[in-house]
């Protein structure tokens, strides 16, 4: 039986929209609206979706970088949202984060050595005398030249900076690493290096990843399970194989079909979605995807669909669509 490391229950993150004469809160951006999922120890769970779907907000809410509006986040059975500030600070040792822009998240006035030892010092990971030794070790683990320990972030390339970010996250022996678009800004050749590094570290240190990304190629490569989000809701959750080979939600299907394949001889059917993602302020009623969905009917406009598992889907594969059966049986099909 797999062990649950993190369990998110009914997480909500609403951001107020100020306006009017006195700057009152006139509305809310429902960035994340009632989502639940769990992460098992040692796995990589990815959250994918387009901009504004709430994937990054989810990561930030779990870390309490922004206080969530509502919900529960259990980490090893303890509700993180119920902890006070100093307890949370202690917990941060177990939950580390890697950001998209490594440069913006590294203090430009600190050397790599200082960056790597700082967190260890705060979390009292090792005695002071051993910090530097440990920093050198970390640099070697992530494939940096340990002789560069006294250099500053700007002296490194983008890929190397991301390695520094990874080393810093590793420095406190975390259990869960949240990687927020961690490889998005990197060139393909460098991205592959970092992806391979992340995979190797996971094996070596038994890490659990929550991997937030928009690139489905990257996600397929690194994930065990995948969550697809749209406008603050989970539309589908499944293991990697099921999601890519047997997607159920029309949005997932469209998303997968929209990605260009680097093979000119492989022709495929593409579902081109009409229009843009609606605003998360006053999102559509019912199923949030109905405004762009080629299969939408009356029920989709009124009733919010639940995540469901059906007979033709693997265990643990759930999708939130009213018409899974009809689409699967072919009763509902795209018109040519």
């Amino acid at each position: 039986m797999k062990k649950e490391l993190l369990k998110v229950n009914n997480l909500k993150q609403y951001f107020p929209v100020k306006g009017g004469f006195l700057g009152r809160t006139v509305n809310h951006v429902k960035a994340v609206d009632d989502i639940s999922f769990e992460i098992y120890e040692g796995e990589t769970l990815s959250v994918v979706g387009e901009s504004g779907c709430g994937k990054s907000t989810t990561g930030r809410a779990i870390l309490r970088l922004e206080e969530p509006t509502d919900g529960e986040v259990y980490f090893e059975g303890e509700d993180l949202l119920a902890l006070n500030k100093s307890q949370m600070r202690e917990k941060r040792k177990d939950l580390q984060v890697i950001f998209q822009d490594p440069y913006a998240s590294l203090n430009p006035r600190h050397t790599v050595g200082q960056i790597l030892t700082e967190a260890m010092q705060i979390q009292k990971i090792a005695p002071r005398s051993e910090l530097r030794k440990r920093a050198i070790e970390l640099m070697e683990i992530v494939g940096l030249n340990a002789e560069q320990i006294d250099r500053y972030p700007h002296e490194f390339s983008g890929g190397q900076r991301q390695r520094i970010g990874i080393a810093r996250a590793l420095s406190v022996d975390p259990k869960l690493i949240i990687a927020d678009e961690a490889v998005s800004a990197l060139d393909v050749s460098i991205q592959a290096q970092v992806l391979n590094l992340l995979k190797r570290l996971q094996r070596e240190f038994n890490l659990t990843y929550l991997f937030i990304a928009h690139d489905l190629g990257v996600v397929r490569h690194i994930s065990d399970r995948i969550i697809v989000m749209y406008l603050g809701k989970i539309v589908e959750i499944a293991d990697k194989k099921s999601l890519f080979e047997n997607p159920q939600h029309p949005y997932t299907k469209a998303l997968l079909s929209a990605i260009p394949i680097p093979d000119p001889e492989k022709k495929k059917e593409r579902i081109v979605l009409k229009g843009d993602v609606p605003s998360p302020i006053n999102p559509p009623q019912g199923c949030r995807f109905h405004t762009r969905c080629p299969f939408a009917t009356e029920i989709c406009r009124t009733k919010v669909p639940e995540l469901r598992n059906l007979d033709h889907m693997k265990e643990g594969h759930r999708a939130a669509c009213h018409h899974i059966e009809k689409i699967h049986s072919g009763e509902m099909a795209l018109q040519k």
């Binding site: 050749s189 592959a192 290096q193 391979n196 929209a258 260009p260 394949i261 680097p262």
Partner: protein
């Protein structure tokens, strides 16, 4: 059958000068041909010089840069030799361009109608009435609903995808013969990217334009291009027909790029990244630019820069492996081809 070549770039070199007057060779030997009505992809990673190449064609490079050499033959006219006035009459008229950032590429203080009208006025001398008709036609062409209302809107009232459609409408205003698209979908979400790529493809068929598609995404290349020029370190390292490039890549960099790309349509256990880092533009290797990262590099590669060699089938590759001078393992050439097949 010999195809008609609309754009022929030969050994283009574009340099920039920093504050101390140091020369930065951003583009250093770029050659390619674009047959009429076809799409050429220019693919490369950041710093490869692909965008500078595009800007050089229309001579839109920043003030501290200049075209240092080479020819850009557009319908047999060398664009590098034209007067400022002549090149202006080509910009937005015979050759137009769309850019990566639709959010910032439109002027925030003018309506989109007015911005499209500018091109119609200067190149075709249209008055307001004719202009309005044409603008509505163009907006319809790029799939913008209710164009009469939209043309009165300001850019901030439109989404990113809509703005890119406006940019395309503006670029198409004067029926260009060549459209240069510089990473047109990089800033957009995939579902919107699919819309825009489909639009460009269908417009090309409808209007018979030639297109240069600049991108870092090999997927985009595979779906939209007929020919591909792969750039690395300011140079073209391989020029190929698109199917050949994916089936039978020649340059070790192209091979590396294909192997390091995680794909969503097939499972790959371990990516094979290219080792090392992209060389700094201020400090390029003396020999082959790719030699420090190339798994096959020999002494020859490190010391001498290979030329972009044209093969009988029209493809070109800048690599010693495919020359008579090759001093490394003779099997490499064969193995290289096997790796991806």
């Amino acid at each position: 059958m010999k195809e008609e070549i609309i754009l022929d770039v030969r050994d283009l070199r574009t340099s920039f000068f920093d504050d101390e007057g140091f020369e930065i060779k951003a583009v250093d030997g770029v050659s390619f041909e674009l047959p009429k009505g076809k799409t050429l992809g220019i693919v490369g990673e950041s710093g490869s010089g692909k965008s500078i190449t595009a800007l050089s064609i229309l001579r839109l490079i920043a003030k501290n840069g200049k075209i240092a050499g080479g020819e850009i033959l557009f319908n047999n006219r060398d664009l590098t030799k034209l007067s400022e006035k002549d090149i202006r009459s080509i910009r937005g008229n015979d050759i137009s361009m769309i850019f990566q950032e639709p959010m910032t590429s439109l002027n925030p203080v003018y309506t989109i109608g007015k911005q499209i009208y500018e091109a119609l006025k200067i190149h075709q001398g249209m008055d307001k009435e004719q202009g309005k008709k044409r603008i509505i036609e163009l907006l319809e062409l790029v799939g913008i609903p209710s164009p009469e209302q939209r043309m009165k809107q300001y850019p901030h009232e439109l989404s990113g995808g809509m703005r890119q459609r406006v940019m395309i409408a503006m670029a198409l205003a004067c029926n260009p013969k060549l459209l240069i698209a510089d990473e047109p979908t990089t800033a957009l979400d995939v579902t919107i990217q699919a819309q825009i790529l489909e639009l460009i493809n269908s417009l090309q068929e409808e209007l018979g334009m030639s297109v240069i598609m600049i991108t870092h995404d090999l997927g985009v290349v595979a779906e939209t291009c007929d020919y591909v020029a792969v750039m690395y370190g300011g140079q073209v390292v391989e020029y190929q027909e698109v199917k050949e490039l994916f089936k039978n890549p020649k340059h070790p960099y192209t091979v590396g790029l294909l192997n390091s790309m995680p794909r969503h349509d097939v499972d790959v256990d371990e990516l094979e990244p290219i080792k090392g880092n992209v060389p700094s533009i201020k400090n390029m290797p003396k020999g082959c630019r790719f030699a420090p990262r190339c798994p096959f590099a020999t002494e020859l590669c490190v010391t001498e820069l290979p030329k972009l060699d044209r093969k009988e089938d029209g493809s070109e590759v800048r690599c010693w492996i495919y020359s008579d001078k090759w001093d490394g393992d003779p099997e490499v050439k064969v193995r290289n081809e096997e790796r991806t097949s």
